[in-house]
């Protein structure tokens, strides 16, 4: 039986590292496996590198990196269902907590603030980040992932702005949270969404319609935030007259 020299073993290790196998355990496994095949199949007169190249080609369809990717996918897939369950549970809890908070607020019962903060916390820091993590796996291009990320950020900013208004936080009186959300939507999210969708013929019309709706919605939101201080001033003036 042919015995590989230390230099040949090192050569194989370096080669599989260069071909994209970064997980150390996987490197060791593949190295041993390749060595086993070579030691069984190679003959004394054979050229080592030629036989090695032929043997390595059996390991993949397109490139060796596939094994690394498949391993990583299987390892992360383990957490996939757990993350999905947490996301669904956090979504349901958010909806329930929001409803409880709203009932308490309308009925002037104690605990409304607690429920609102809890609901916003669940939505912004658990549901939406998990939604991003799970959905981005389905997206192929970086641009699509950026659209999703900015959309999630808009969602988080929106919920924080609502909370700030309901809770009468100091910064909320000047509409800072709203303006931050609207500004981010106008200058980052909507342009990213529009230019990503308009390039694809199948989503062109849908992109234009959704972009128009988003611009209208954000404009109305901006109008409400901008008019709010004037309304407040008028109420104060009326109260002063009385």
């Amino acid at each position: 039986m042919y015995t590989l020299s230390d230099q040949q073993v090192e050569f194989i290790l370096k080669d599989i590292q260069q071909k994209g196998i970064h997980t150390e355990d996987l490197q060791q496994n593949l190295l041993d496996h390749i060595c086993c095949i070579l030691e069984t199949e190679i003959k004394v007169d054979d050229d080592f590198e030629t036989v090695y190249t032929l043997v390595l080609q059996r390991f993949y369809k397109n490139e060796l990196l596939e094994i690394e990717q498949e391993t990583q996918d299987l390892l992360t897939f383990k957490n996939f269902y757990f993350m999905k369950k947490v996301m669904i549970l956090s979504g349901l809890s958010t909806a329930g907590t929001f409803m409880l908070g709203s009932v308490c607020k309308v009925m002037h019962w104690p605990g409304a603030s607690f429920f609102f903060v809890l609901a916003i916390g669940l939505l912004s820091f658990l549901f939406l980040p998990l939604l991003f993590l799970l959905k981005q796996k389905e997206l192929k291009s970086l641009q699509e992932k950026l659209v999703l990320l900015s959309g999630v950020l808009v969602g988080m900013l929106y919920t924080v702005a609502v909370l700030a208004s309901v809770m009468h936080w100091t910064m909320a009186k000047s509409g800072t949270y709203w303006l931050l959300m609207i500004g981010f939507s106008f200058f980052v999210f909507i342009p990213l969404y529009f230019f990503n969708g308009i390039r694809k013929p199948e989503s062109k019309i849908n992109t234009i319609l959704v972009t128009c709706l988003m611009v209208i919605f954000m404009s109305l939101q901006f109008l409400m935030v901008s008019l709010k201080p004037d309304i407040q001033k008028q109420i104060t003036a009326i109260e002063a007259k009385q």
């Binding site: 496996h33 094994i67 391993t71």
Partner: protein
């Protein structure tokens, strides 16, 4: 006849677990050779499918590894954990039930076609 990789993919975990249950400890190359030998070359496990599966089984705590140093390289022997042993029984029973169900299902299909 060589079975397609699609058919093998769904049963690979069970095959590996059962082989480890029957052979105490095995390394990657040994597993592929054993499958080849037992099935008379009808099932060929590819390295691209075997190692991701072995790593996933290790991450799930179903197998543990023992290292053997051979010159400049390290050989990883896989063996079942107590959880892996009970999981093997579960997976084998599940596969047997599945095969029985498929048998019935395909017989029905054959009769109707």
């Amino acid at each position: 006849m060589l079975f397609s990789s699609e058919l093998i993919k769904g049963t690979l975990k069970t095959i590996v677990l059962k082989l480890l249950a029957d052979n105490k400890r095995m390394y990657g190359y040994e597993i592929t050779q054993k499958v080849k030998e037992l099935t008379r070359d009808r099932i060929l496990i590819t390295e691209g499918a075997l190692y991701p599966t072995l790593h996933a089984l290790e991450a799930d705590g179903l197998v543990v590894t023992e290292l053997e140093y051979i010159g400049k390289r390290v050989r990883k022997h896989y063996k079942l954990t107590p959880t892996g042993k009970s999981k093997t029984k579960e997976k084998v029973s599940e596969l047997i039930e599945f095969m029985q169900t498929m048998h019935v299902l395909l017989d029905i299909n054959l009769q109707t076609s």
